[in-house]
């Protein structure tokens, strides 16, 4: 019992929370007992505390493998803002000298965030193997499984690295992992005895609504009508940067009193930070964004999540609506669907995987390079220019070339027979993945068209039961938005001229200093 009290005290001490959220304590206890743990927790319930607290309490270093650089950076920034200075994210943007310097000083850090790709670097592996690694965390662990919605080939190469690091305890975390994916994770990590902590992913404070519309005009009309009655933190998801931008312009005109901005991966860093933080500070009410927004964003009072375009799979949808209502208050997800929308994700799937002609072209170039003993360029821009394919497509092809030992760290092995055979294999796998993705898209579309309870249809794929709600459940069971009365945002007053703004920024003048 004393152990439990102790943990809560540590949580308060390090994070300022007085109680654990569902699942956190159970996972942390098992981690501290030295068990290998697989945790599935719904989005927005503080997965990161599950390793950040143990990292503080364990002797040695915690490694966190994470799929997205932006996600890592956000986590590090947030930790640093909370006085955890000994955290670092290693990314491939560092130049040679800063990298060397950083590698030599790794022992000064308590938490090291890494991408699975950079973990394949021999040099880094050498440095890491000299450290005492207390815990090896795999964030977004569903990326290990090719049945997961975000399969990343390098996630499958983690086992040998864990072994090389002296088999530290493993904690695999995900928000969306079906039984199939969970088994894949255990198999790939060669840890059949992982302790599973699976928590229901359905969020009963989010009412679900699906509305079929004629066209984009109607989408604009519906969104602006709802938001005109509600000035609350809201997200609107789009499948492309340009549609997010142009919709922002249209919405400005409809809602002159709302503060609206867009966010996507193509913006300058300073603008990205500004928009994100303005939203956190309630300086902005509505964000029109692509899926790039939201990762690592910890705003707990988002009330509406709209889908102007629907994502290509249910897993992404669950993740995106999971950003609403993290404070437990009633929130709403509204998906607007028109027939034309099906075309977009289909096109996206095709652009993610290499086509037949792509494969033929790459095969010819690779054969020539192998014969002439030329190396494949390390720079992604050059690779894209050489093969005329995208980074995602090359990652897919190269991972299989590596798996079949035709390619090792940019060098090709000249074995025409083996090469031909591998490309046949790649084509088969491509077909399989394409089928899988189309299947997932089909699942998403059938959910949209479902006439049953949307909550039941959405969640029972991932877990046995779901919470039955008697009211405000979903648009098929019947919801009433007029009963929805969230707390409205009040605009902070805006100072009328630059002179006053400057004075205020410096904390001078009529405002009293609190020190």
């Amino acid at each position: 019992m004393s152990n439990i009290i102790h943990l809560e005290k540590e949580l308060e001490n390090y994070f300022g929370y007085s109680t654990f959220r569902v699942g956190q304590k159970e996972i942390i206890e098992d981690v501290l007992k030295g068990k290998d743990v697989l945790g599935v927790l719904p989005t927005g319930t503080g997965k990161s505390v599950c390793y950040q607290l143990p990292a503080r309490l364990l002797e040695g270093i915690t490694i966190v493998v994470s799929p997205l650089i932006s996600l890592m950076m956000d986590q590090v920034k947030e930790l640093k803002a909370n006085h955890f200075k000994d955290v670092i994210a290693i990314n491939s943007f560092l130049d040679f000298h800063s990298r060397k310097k950083l590698y030599r000083s790794l022992s000064n850090y308590k938490i090291i965030y890494l991408s699975p790709e950079i973990l394949q670097q021999k040099e880094l592996q050498n440095y890491l193997s000299r450290l005492h690694i207390a815990l090896f965390v795999i964030d977004e662990a569903h990326c290990i499984s090719q049945w997961g919605h975000e399969f990343r080939p390098d996630y499958q190469k983690l086992y040998p690295i864990i072994e090389m690091l002296g088999n530290p305890n493993v904690l695999a975390l995900s928000a969306t992992a079906t039984n199939e994916v969970q088994n894949d994770i255990k198999r790939s990590l060669n840890l059949p005895n992982m302790v599973k902590h699976i928590y229901p992913i359905d969020r009963n404070n989010i009412m679900l609504s699906v509305q079929e519309v004629m066209d984009n005009e109607e989408k604009l009309a519906i969104i602006s009508c709802i938001l005109s009655k509600n000035k609350v933190p809201s997200l609107i998801y789009f499948s492309s940067k340009s549609s997010a931008e142009s919709f922002t312009q249209q919405l400005y005109k409809k809602l002159p009193n709302h503060r609206i901005a867009y966010y996507h991966g193509g913006m300058d860093p300073i603008d990205r930070i500004s928009i994100q933080q303005q939203f956190m500070n309630d300086q902005i009410d509505v964000i029109c964004c692509t899926s790039a927004f939201g990762m690592g964003i910890n705003k707990n009072n988002i009330r509406f999540v709209f889908h102007y375009h629907f994502p290509g799979q249910i897993e992404s949808f669950i993740q995106e609506i999971g950003r609403a209502g993290r404070d437990g208050e009633q929130s709403v997800s509204i998906l607007l669907y028109s027939k034309q929308d099906e075309f977009l994700p289909k096109q996206l799937i095709q652009s993610e995987l290499p086509s037949d002609s792509d494969l033929t072209r790459v095969f010819q170039i690779v054969s020539r390079y192998a014969k002439q003993q030329q190396v494949i360029p390390a720079d992604m821009v050059e690779v894209e220019a050489l093969f005329e394919i995208s980074e995602t497509q090359w990652r897919f092809i190269s991972s299989h070339l590596e798996k079949n030992s035709v390619l090792t760290e940019n060098s090709l092995k000249y074995d025409q027979g083996k090469l031909t055979e591998t490309f046949h294999l790649i084509r088969e796998i491509r077909d399989e993945r394409m089928k899988l993705k189309q299947h997932k898209l089909q699942d998403m579309i059938s959910w949209i068209h479902s006439t049953e309870c949307l909550r039941k249809e959405l969640y029972t794929k991932f877990q046995h039961g779901y919470t039955v709600l008697t009211q405000q459940c979903c648009s098929n069971c019947g919801i009433d938005l007029t009963d929805f009365k969230p707390k409205q945002t009040v605009n902070a007053s805006i100072l009328p001229n630059w002179e006053m703004k400057l004075k205020h920024l410096f904390g001078l003048g009529d405002t009293h200093e609190t020190e």
């Binding site: 803002a81 603008d271 933080q277 500070n281 400057l502 410096f506 904390g507 200093e513 020190e515």
Partner: protein, 356 residues
């Protein structure tokens, strides 16, 4: 307004000597010897590198809009443009707006961004600390800036209160000299305690400017501030402390520097080429770079006074800076390399006196 005015100015100054992409490279600050050279010979040094984030797509898009708006028209050859009467009018109007005279690109290239980002971060830091808040998400996340600011802060910590007031006063004085609109845009960009400054998009919406113009306004005001601060270092001590360690970007590459050393040790061009295992033409590029960088470096060893006169004459006669035209109209023994050297020294040679 401002962006289009700048493009018009470039077209007017470069005439038919350079294609439209030459203007793009100049504005985006391509670190090629050609672009730096162009800035010099066309007297556009102030506009060099004032818009590093400009993409070719956005640039060409704007050029198309200008054609559609009748400000410019297609020239005799592809990718060349001439200014129209309407364009002249437009340029006259935008030339009087102050922003265009603020730019000092070649001098402040690289330093401007560093200074501005340091200023943003130090204001955000002081604003938070003034309110007793020590944890916040920095609006600038480039490690070179955050590390510098952290270190800098420790040096002023003991004197923080005075430093804050002094920084405020200095900024107020400088901004107060600007037109209202420019000061507004600049201050709207700043972040502080529980408050984040506006993005380019938000500024463009609020001040009814295009996104290009917002970016250029911010850069222009920054250049103007730096000029004033450097001119009055004793007066703007606090702002100057954010600048002091920043050196002017040297437009000489390391590899050209090595060639420079060898030339100073009296090795010939072909000796240097074989020693360094480089092509002759590469060494020639280095020499043009050196000539632009070092005003004292003489070109007479590579092109005789007589040859210089022939080249100058052709430039004058055909009123062109196009290498090919000059080459075609001079003695065949004169090389492209020699022409480039003369172009690099054009201003000085003209002052030197009557060769023609």
């Amino acid at each position: 307004m401002c962006f289009k005015g700048i493009i018009l100015k470039c077209i007017t100054f470069m005439k038919e000597n350079r294609s439209i992409s030459g203007i793009y490279h100049l504005l985006s600050g391509k670190k090629s010897i050609q672009s730096v050279h162009d800035a010099k010979i066309f007297n556009l040094e102030g506009l060099y590198g004032i818009y590093p984030a400009l993409t070719m797509i956005d640039f060409l898009d704007c050029v198309q809009q200008m054609v559609a708006g009748g400000l410019i028209k297609k020239g005799k050859t592809d990718n060349y443009y001439d200014i129209t009467d309407r364009g002249e009018q437009y340029l006259k109007q935008s030339d009087v707006t102050s922003i265009l005279c603020y730019f000092n690109g070649i001098k402040y290239y690289g330093r401007d961004v560093t200074f501005l980002e340091r200023l943003f971060l130090i204001i955000q830091t002081l604003s938070n600390i003034q309110k007793g808040n020590t944890t916040f998400i920095p609006v600038i996340d480039r490690p070179s800036i955050t590390n510098w600011t952290k270190k800098f802060y420790t040096t002023i910590k003991g004197n923080r209160r005075n430093f804050t007031i002094k920084l405020y006063e200095e900024l107020y004085e400088l901004l107060n000299q600007l037109p209202e609109k420019e000061a507004n845009i600049f201050v709207d960009r700043l972040s502080g305690y529980k408050y984040y400054g506006m993005s380019v998009e938000q500024l463009s919406e609020k001040h009814s400017l295009t996104k290009h113009d917002v970016i250029l306004y911010l850069t222009g005001v920054t250049h103007h501030l730096i000029v004033k601060i450097e001119q009055n270092q004793e007066r703007f001590t606090v702002l100057y402390s954010l600048l002091r360690d920043l050196e002017q970007t040297k437009f000489i590459t390391n590899t050209a520097k090595q060639t420079y050393q060898l030339l100073c040790n009296h090795f010939t061009v072909s000796e240097i080429a074989s020693m360094r295992n480089l092509k002759l033409n590469t060494i020639y590029d280095h020499i043009v770079e050196i000539v632009l960088y070092d005003k004292e470096f003489t070109i007479d060893t590579f092109v005789t006074k007589q040859e210089q006169a022939i080249i100058l004459q052709a430039i004058h006669k055909y009123n062109t800076y196009k290498l090919k035209i000059i080459k075609d109209n001079t003695t065949s023994s004169i090389s492209y390399f020699q022409i480039r050297l003369v172009l690099a020294r054009l201003e000085e040679l003209r002052l030197e006196g009557p060769h023609v």
